[in-house]
């Protein structure tokens, strides 16, 4: 009973944290603003047309990455899984880059989700029986290299320098200059992906027992797998289509949340989404406030912070015998 109450407390706290981060994002930025709710034209333009869409996009992208990370970890029984590590984001970026390169910009989101789906299908098929976190991460690295190589090829043969700069910027991952339409796009993929993922929650719990015993207690593993693959592809594909490649949120969010709500994969889903959203909004505030000449890209910042965190988690797992 106390466990249950604890969960609601964590949800409330993470929701409050998300709202506080969003508020801070309206208030803080390179241009000082005393009162973000002031009604002068300048403030309104900056706060409502620049900062709000950007902050909302960051939150929705972070939530999608946190949620898909938690779901992929449950499915593959591996705390290092996430859409970045497993190559879903890389493939999504490739899909979008191909759509860009061939001049079908409007289809970039669909292409991103389709490619993320291909990667998710591939990685779960290959990684389903992979024992231990390391082997799965290696499969992901393989997919990432594949996607990275193709993106490099697309950049290499892109004749238009303007488009090239856009593409490069975007593969680094950023929510700079995003509009409400972008936020809506990320939001709608999050809603669809989230619905699929939450429908898989009980199956993810059952997988705690391993494949055979999960099936023996009555779990339909094909259904669970299909739901998570589709849901994670929608979340990661949508997030990448809007914000480019942003890694490690999907590993870090569930990792931090476990310390608060325990290891039950179903109970991790919602808090991981909230934590991922809050984390990315905070990270985006940080890159906006850092006094660099060119704004640090959010995806780069995430990698700078997330890379070491990832290595730490991996090292702790390895020291425990690894097969967690």
């Amino acid at each position: 009973m106390s466990l249950r109450n604890n969960w609601f407390v964590v949800i409330a706290a993470l929701t409050a944290l998300s709202l506080a981060a969003l508020l801070a994002a309206l208030w803080l930025g390179p241009v000082p603003i005393a009162d973000p709710f002031a009604s002068d034209v300048r403030t309104r333009a900056i706060v409502w047309e620049v900062r709000l869409p950007r902050a909302l996009t960051a939150w929705l992208v972070g939530a999608a990455l946190g949620l898909s990370g938690a779901a992929l970890q449950g499915l593959l029984r591996n705390p290092l899984a996430d859409s970045g590590v497993l190559g879903l984001s890389g493939f999504a970026a490739l899909g979008a880059v191909i759509a860009f390169a061939f001049g079908f910009m409007g289809f970039a989101p669909i292409a991103a989700v389709a490619f993320a789906l291909a990667a998710a299908t591939l990685v779960t098929a290959l990684g389903w029986r992979a024992r231990g976190p390391a082997s799965l991460a290696l499969i992901g690295i393989g997919l990432l290299r594949l996607a990275g190589g193709r993106i490099a090829l697309a950049l290499n043969i892109e004749p238009n320098p303007g488009a090239l700069a856009d593409l490069v910027n975007w593969t680094l991952g950023s929510v700079e200059g995003r509009s409400l339409a972008d936020a809506m796009l990320a939001g709608s993929f999050l809603v669809v992906g989230g619905a699929l993922i939450f429908a898989s929650a009980r199956g993810l719990q059952a997988l705690t027992l391993g494949e055979v015993a999960a099936s023996a207690i009555g779990a339909d593993l094909l259904r669970t797998r299909t739901l998570v693959v589709l849901g994670a592809a929608a979340c990661a594909g949508g997030a990448t289509a809007v914000a480019g490649v942003i890694g490690f949120v999907g590993v870090a969010a569930p990792h931090f949340v476990r310390a608060m709500v325990g290891h039950d994969p179903a109970r991790l889903l919602l808090p991981s989404a909230l934590a991922g959203g809050a984390m990315l909004v905070c990270a985006d505030i940080a890159v906006r406030l850092l006094p660099t000449d060119t704004e640090l890209k959010l995806g780069v910042a995430a990698a700078l912070v997330g890379g070491p965190v990832f290595a730490l988690i991996a090292a702790r797992l390895a020291s425990r015998g690894g097969d967690a």
Binding site: R77, T208, V212, A213, I217, D220, D264, R267
Partner: protein
């Protein structure tokens, strides 16, 4: 008495290897049947084929009236609970949450237990003597305790048939006998139990019938004292052995060749 589980001349191949051949056995309500045999005799395959987890090459398995492979996972789980040989808890849930996973087929989940589910979980915890551990995490308890938690999880499933792959592996003698008592109490309430073990005495003690296997075939089947003859034991294990009555229980003794002990 209609059988809850029935094998009719079942044969099974894994790759090139024949794992089961001409295997027939029936387990009825209220009955405990022990599967004995050396490593690789096919005991695990019998259990997995009974659950429909692996397809037969020929012959038939019936779970109740049906081919288990034609049943949905949920329908199967309502008829039979399974304890695998090396049960896993990949995420360190609490003991109670892990046992609650047994309620999956009834619609229950660790974070969503109806009164009926909670009662089944509580009963399983009590039966397996896990009351003091229920809030502990799975990575904070001993190997023997883990096995008992997984046994409790199969009991909480409230299926009429229990299929247990070495439920006493790694347990000390007193704990192993404790498992035997749990199974007997469960069978008295009408459940059927099929379990594999390497503990010949425990099989004789706990089971109404034993089935001795070697190389995928049934060597002998029947009441423990009748089936576990020195000939059958030698044929199964390659060592001369016998089953002895000790008090109200049994001991199994195998002849060891004289070892070269230092003088």
């Amino acid at each position: 008495m209609s059988a809850l589980l029935c094998y009719e001349r079942a044969a099974l191949e894994l790759g090139e290897r024949r794992v089961l051949a001409d295997f027939s056995l029936a387990v009825g309500a209220g009955e405990i049947v022990a599967l004995l045999g050396p490593n690789g005799a096919g005991k695990t395959s019998v259990l997995r084929a009974g659950l429909g987890l692996i397809p037969l090459a020929s012959g038939a398995v019936r779970l109740g009236e049906d081919d288990p492979r034609a049943l949905s996972a949920r329908a199967r789980a309502l008829r039979a609970a399974y304890l695998p040989q090396h049960p896993q808890a990949i995420w360190p849930l609490s003991v109670e949450a892990l046992i609650a996973l047994g309620r999956y087929a009834h619609g229950g989940a660790p974070d969503r237990l109806g009164p009926r589910d909670q009662a089944a979980v509580d009963a399983a915890i009590q039966t397996c003597g896990l009351g003091a551990l229920r809030a502990r995490r799975m990575d904070e308890i001993s190997g023997g305790e883990k096995l008992r938690v997984h046994l409790a999880r199969t009991l909480a499933q409230e299926a009429p048939l229990l299929m247990l792959d070495e439920p006493s592996a790694g347990l000390d003698p007193a704990q192993a006998l404790g498992v035997a008592e749990i199974l007997q109490a469960h069978a008295k309430r009408g459940a059927a139990v099929l379990f594999s073990t390497h503990d010949v005495a425990l099989a004789a003690h706990a089971a109404h019938r034993v089935a001795v296997m070697a190389q995928g075939r049934l060597l002998a089947e029947g009441a423990p004292e009748a089936a576990l003859t020195p000939e059958v034991l030698e044929q199964a294990y390659g060592k001369r052995g016998r089953l002895e009555r000790v008090g109200s229980g049994y001991a199994a003794v195998f002849e060891a060749q004289s070892l070269n002990r230092p003088a």
